[in-house]
Symmetry: C2
Subunit: 312 residues, 2 copies
């Protein structure tokens, strides 16, 4: 047991994972699943990396508002940008989804996919987490990186299915998680082909295509993957329908929730959190005997070591 | 040369394919492309299988109208269904896109994804091509099957990018082409998660999500694949923007059009065809020196042999 998933403490969570993988890969066994059907889906925020004190992509959007403000003098007197530029997060959050969408439109749309990709790449290469000072791409969970590698080594194909933006994740997910762009499912806006100086470009239109969260996750899975996963991993109510959809299929199925219980090493939150609220899904996980990882109890380490040579 | 692509005659088309694959796979060479970036996209209708005397999926839709007619007595007096039920294809075609959409809505929407998948699977298992009497899945092109295998053997990942319906192709494309559901890009309708008898289902709504044809093909590619292909294969004006998008990227690029020139063994058509019209793309192919396959000249065989033991 110690050889696999070294950052996981021995316990029911790790045992359930290893047992599931053993049974679906045992050729001739009653629960054998052929490799093409070994599809596993992972939420990103709060499941593969930290989502506190706010979603990473929200921090990106806020930083972009500041960077773009000199080109938009009108924002000083325009909600919700005025609140952000004044650093009044409380007033901004009071604007709810409308404010958020205004910021998404101003920072994620009206440019080509290549321009946006470059902007996201540049930001993620330099931005630092406000608490730890580490790059966000080091705020990933070491036990989950090991789980991704373990599943891949056992013939699973891994997809990220996130409420976050598909074009925000693609530039770095292959390097950080080993998940290529074509295996990223996320929220998206509509695109339009245009020609600029004789060259085709794809323009990101100010119109939502898919909100890949909650009931949108099975829609994203069907649209992009086209078959039902046999294993699903999440951490919040936004993952509930993905776990239900996955486990409603025939044959062996696996569902796991990461429960953030470690205020010392990461954060402790569930039903009252602004980001990654976990309430209904936790109740259903208990009723349906899904695996619930208690981060404090089950994980030996949280993030990869600052010095990669110290990795397990 | 004879060992690879055995159903291709030696000539400029085959040589261009083999040269391209050699240069992008030569490690250390100036045109080397790492395996994850070896993305190839193929149109389906007219590129991988025959699209005459009409698109296969249109035949499926017409057959479904007939099969569903007893449940819809009102169709006898309702356009365009009355024309179809009377066998008057000319009157039906005169209705243009509006008629087509009415048939698509009646036959492809308002059911769950699993119900539709089963219907498409059942149909394709039993339907026969009107001229040859062979199953449609045997109306594929043997030289293109060899090309798919050759590219895969050289580390390419293959996606189908078709104007046809994504959910229509997925049930059989893995068996017929070796392309799994998650590597199928196609036209799609919107989906909605619902609960039926306590079980989640995805309902196919009567609303278009993506028309994956013409300018929609680069949109479909970016949405599903998230990186630019290095090779693209098509046969009609509906593939023009896909070939332009593919070849507009940096580094080595490959674009190929199948030109249907063989009235004896298949069909001969281009600028005047109702299905798979090839006009602008042929002009651009000549201007840009894309490879144009002359089916009559370049292909030794068209379809796989009726007896699989006779395959090259």
């Amino acid at each position: 047991m110690a050889a696999v998933l070294p950052s996981w403490n021995d316990g029911p969570g790790k045992r359930a994972i290893v047992d599931f993988v053993a049974k679906v890969t045992r050729e001739g066994g009653p629960d054998y699943v052929a490799p093409p059907e070994r599809i596993a889906v992972f939420d990103n925020d709060g499941t593969l990396w930290s989502e506190q004190p706010m979603y990473v992509q929200l921090q990106f959007a806020l930083d972009r508002v500041k960077a773009l403000a000199p080109q938009h003098p009108e924002w000083k007197a325009q909600e919700p940008f005025n609140h952000l530029l004044a650093g009044d997060m409380k007033a901004f959050m009071a604007g709810g989804e409308k404010s958020l969408m205004a910021v998404v439109a101003a920072t994620h749309m009206g440019m080509t996919t290549e321009e946006f990709s470059r902007t996201a790449s540049d930001w993620i290469a330099s931005a630092k987490h406000p608490r730890t000072g580490r790059p966000y791409t080091e705020m990933v969970y070491q036990p989950m990186l090991e789980l991704l590698a373990y599943l891949r080594a056992n013939g699973f194909k891994i997809f990220i299915v996130s409420g976050g933006g598909i074009e925000f994740m693609r530039p770095w997910a292959e390097r950080v998680y080993g998940v290529p762009p074509e295996q990223i499912v996320g929220s998206s806006g509509k695109l339009k082909l245009e020609t600029r100086d004789g060259t085709p470009v794809l323009l990101k239109l100010p119109e939502i295509n898919l909100v890949d969260d909650g009931p949108g996750k099975p829609v994203g899975i069907q649209t992009h993957i086209g078959r039902r996963p046999i294993a699903a991993f999440g951490n919040s109510d936004g993952d509930l329908q993905m776990l239900e959809w996955t486990t409603a299929g025939d044959g062996p199925r696996f569902a796991l929730l990461v429960h953030h219980t470690d205020a010392d090493r990461e954060w402790a939150y569930d039903r009252d959190s602004h980001f990654g609220r976990l309430d209904k899904a936790l109740i259903e996980a208990q009723a349906k005997h899904w695996v619930v990882v208690d981060m404090k109890r089950d994980w030996k380490t949280i993030h990869p070591p600052v010095n990669p040579a110290e990795a397990p």
